[in-house]
Symmetry: C4
Subunit: 377 residues, 4 copies
């Protein structure tokens, strides 16, 4: 059974259990159906007409999530322990998804309001977002500067609110009559949202508002700069770690010196492709070569089709002068390719001249093989 | 016939065909005229007065686009096959441009509404935007992180909508009465657009709104960071590939070691100039030198004019100490120059000392030649 | 007594004085209580009910800040001199915090308005924000470009205001009747806040408004770009300086060549952890190793617990091929760890092959020690 | 007479002429006075009271700008030629500043409206913004991508306007009745300004609006990314060129190899200081050293004061281990210092070990000199 990265916890638990069908699909269907039902639940005319069906869908979704929760609880008993499961973020979300609506109903909340707790179900998607980890790491690594920006944000917010309250309270006592009320105006202004429901009227109040807007741009600029810097660094790091795993599977790279392997790992780009995807189109202009990290491709030559498997590479002629692709290349199964761009190839060559010899030797061997009918392009 | 980069497909198809005039111009004129006609079509008083003329222009435009579509269909039969043309993005846009209005008219849509389908014509510009490819690649390469940010965006959107719906439905049943209605408020707030037509009134609703605004800034910061990172990397790559082509045409670079060529290619900036453009102005302060990748320039010396063609270079004295330009240099035809800045030149010198000798030798030769009346600086 | 980085001035002054309790906590409590009291002071119904309590809290806060100011004044007399204290940013804020409310009350301002000067108290937090220095340096270093962007901002603001005033004054004399009034519209538009309380109605006025909005995006883009660039550079610099201090405490790095030390310092990430924090979890996938710069950790082996102190390192197996963590590692006290990521380790190895030998030797020694019962993982 | 970088044209022209006073100051005073007069000109009550004075100021300003224009015209006749002056950006602005108001008055425009053409005077500041050149270069270098983003912006604008016009014209014929009217809504939405004066009401219209908002964020992200990338590159380049000039004046750098000079030039930060500025404060923690590129500083030792002139350096002990500053250093005149940070110093040391010897030798010589009473710190 292949590894499923999305909800490995449920999979690994049901692997040995009674459930023979695929739980991921069920969860996703229940989430989608539940989301639609929740959206139309609150639209009065639609709800009046289809009340029975909407509630039926919601009850079914709830049953799925409760069942999912119970299965995971049961299996976690034998693996990480029940508390180990319940204290993870996923466990908390699962528990809340299963219990929030029944508890609300039991507490006497009206049916419609109780079902709105189903919005918690959406959080089940959060652990499945693969890049969320990356974003969380950016926040952790850049926590110091981000906290400072947030503190400046709050400082400007409170000081501006007090000032504008003093300047505007006589003019507009309804909306600027207290500092907490003025905070509403300040947050909408500092984030440059600018609803316009509350607007200062006095010249001095407007001067403060103008300064707050410019501060908003400055704070936002800092914010973006910090996140952008952190993201670029973290992305590079994550890419290296993932690509490193694949590089070890390609025998070609084994011949390089350790320094060259590190450099090449930094430059390779991963490409995950479904089956039957066209990687290279005949006649197109090529500017990169491909290494097969996993899966297989088929080269469609005029006279025959050649299959290339894990560890093979193709498209290297594009980097050696002949940049018109000579054959279509199509994936045969879900494949992960490593792409080496022309610019990176040239940089590698300049830094590691021995690489040039290895690629040239391979290309020559390929061409001869090609003449004799081997793997082409 | 020169290569026209904008709509090479139509050109290459009509090259052998009956059309003797220039189709690019026709398409552009039709697009501009059609756009103006579409804009004033909906302005009631103008339309009432000039109805006949406006419709005449629109019909003429439609005829041009249908003709263009038919020509391309006819020629694609002999080249890529009709389906090959119809399944490309350009083919789909061409087909929709040609057929949308006639089909709408045939279906009984009112004249005015039917012509509004002419907005599709504007999409014909999309394949002509040369940098659009670059932007598309950025999206493809950064698809994972961008999808995650979009998912966070949607998650915050739905959860915030449900929360604010619950908090505000009693206060403002008209605008927060259902979750789908609240979504409208949420999307305007999360993107910091802030129309202000729908605004929470309860303190808790405003607290959630404030959190949504700050989330909006955070999501937007991530978004910008990802795109900025991806764009910088992709831009560097595209520049290298395009510059590499030109570098191979300049004999001067042929004398350098492969490592130096790669470095120099990364540092050169391309400059596309029309004829009669002033490249260097006498008396100005120079901080770069120029290599002619294609085209030709004329050096305007006090006593004579010297023509420099493909592969020549000029302005090198600015990098060797004398930074006052001694002559005007003007392009004689559409030219592509490669610009080497002072800072990059110094970096190159530091990394590849042999380059220094080559440039010095050239400069000395130039000056002697100059004394004897050769090409100057 | 350990050094407290937050308000070292007060601490160092009271160290020799009479005060035996902790002044930082008092200040923070007073700030929090004062902030809450200031917020509810202006909410009429709450104030009417709890007036006595609110004013009591505010008076207490004021007493704390006046006391703090007097203590610092007294001690500064013996250290930096009274003027030296009063001319620093902190001294100005302390003085204003202590005197603003009493002076306002003495001048006959109403009680409620006088207390609003307490908003100055919040500024006491500013010197405590450790990253604020970093942000200030970014502004200083990028002052030139930032001033230019601000000048462009003001230029567009005034020219657009004059234009829109001329175009809209007849249509809406109330809001566009003078250039200063129009400035209010212009600043809300240029910062893309867009309140919508003042909106041009004439076609030409709207055209100018549209151009102003696009200029706003451009100015904002520049602004963000400048700050992001400056922040990335400054952050790198600050990190280096702080990390450098810690690197000198780890004996392992003393064996490296100076070039390698500089490289390693740039790559290490600092991690400040409280006691009992789990650094490494058994069974997790490791992608970094840790050096202990200060503090101590405990390795929880199945059969025993091993304590590692300052200068030790752990988790190196993750970088040498075995990426499953074999033991839990927990901090025993407040610790600062230096983290070396897999990607940076590989880069270091490529640039400084001697490092590889040092780490390998250490790992081998560790494993043998481990077999004999020494520090594990 | 020293070079004045701001308006060298006027200066160099009047150098030989009759004007003995300083024209820059006059222009700046006239600009400031004119701006204030223009602002209050349109405020009815103020204008009614002080009409005579406001108009007097405006006439005086106009006389200054006309005089300035005539002086420049007169001198340009002998230098670059009248047309050479009139075709530069500065010449066009000068001409418009001098002639716009008189021509408007001559054409019979009302006095108040005619004076509003004085807003053109503000453009005189544009050529004085030193960083404006940098920003212009960023736009030139990144013209391709920026144009693409602008094209996408316009494409989305027109297609969204047509769509929303069709969806909303029956609901709100007043504001969405024509495509040009809808464009106003579209531009306010796409730039995330969101006035809220015009808002779609139909569900489909709101869906399109939501997509437009997200497109706005995407376009804005791209925009910021492009400008940030371009700005960082251009800034680095400009800094190198300016710093390079100064590095050649410091004899210390002359001893380094060319590669080290290039590296050091990239790392130095310029610092322009007025006279009597405190560069280094005794007792502070130092993390950089200073080279004097121009001007002079005074080191305030306990027993004497030592003057250091052009080419000298100080503060090097901070980079060699002793990071507590031992003396105050104050500028004696307007000075330009080159700052070398600790991190960059370490990087330089690692790359160019010979640099270490030079600095060490200097530091040793300094200390001995210091013991004998020479330049300290």
């Amino acid at each position: 059974m292949p590894k499923l990265p999305l909800i490995p916890r449920l999979i690994s638990e049901t692997r040995t259990g009674a459930a023979s069908w695929h739980p991921t699909t069920i969860t996703h269907v229940a989430l989608a159906a539940g989301l639609v039902a929740l959206l139309i639940l609150t639209v009065e005319p639609v709800y009046a007409q289809g009340r029975m069906w909407i509630e039926l869908v919601l009850w079914l979704c709830l049953v799925v999530f409760i069942w999912e929760w119970l299965v995971r609880l049961y299996y976690s008993r034998t693996h990480h322990g029940v508390m180990g499961y319940l204290t993870t973020a996923g466990g908390v979300i699962d528990t809340a998804s299963a219990l929030a609506v029944p508890i609300a109903l039991a507490c006497g909340v009206t049916t419609k309001s109780a079902w709105l707790f189903g919005a918690i179900w959406l959080l089940k998607l959060a652990p499945q977002l693969t890049s969320l980890k990356l974003l969380r790491r950016v926040i952790v690594v850049e926590a110091g500067p981000l906290a400072s920006v947030l503190a400046i944000f709050l400082l400007v917010l409170f000081v501006a609110s007090t000032l504008v309250h003093v300047l505007e309270r006589d003019e507009q006592p309804d909306v600027f009559g207290s500092v907490p009320a003025t905070l509403w105006w300040a947050v909408a202004t500092l984030t440059t949202t600018g609803y316009g429901d509350v607007v200062p009227h006095t010249p001095l109040g407007r001067l403060v508002a103008a300064i707050v807007m410019v501060c908003g741009l400055f704070i936002f600029g800092l914010w973006t700069g910090i996140i952008a810097t952190g993201f670029a660094a973290e992305n590079r790091r994550q890419n290296f770690i993932k690509t490193w795993e694949y590089v070890s599977k390609v025998p070609f790279f084994g011949r390089l010196a350790p320094g060259a392997i590190t450099d090449v790992t930094q430059m390779l780009r991963r490409l995950d492709l479904p089956p039957k995807a066209i990687v290279v189109r005949r006649g197109a202009i090529g500017d990169c070569m491909y290494f097969i990290a996993s899966g297989a491709v088929e080269v469609e030559l005029p006279d025959k089709r050649v299959r290339l498997g894990e560890g093979a590479f193709f498209g290297e002629l594009a980097l050696l002068g002949n940049n018109i692709r000579t054959a279509n290349v199509v994936t045969k199964e879900t494949s992960t390719l490593l792409v080496l761009d022309l610019v990176d190839f040239r940089l590698l060559m300049a830094r590691h001249p021995e690489l040039s010899k290895v690629i040239d030797a391979e290309a020559t061997r390929r061409m001869q093989e090609n003449l004799r009918g081997g793997p082409p392009q």
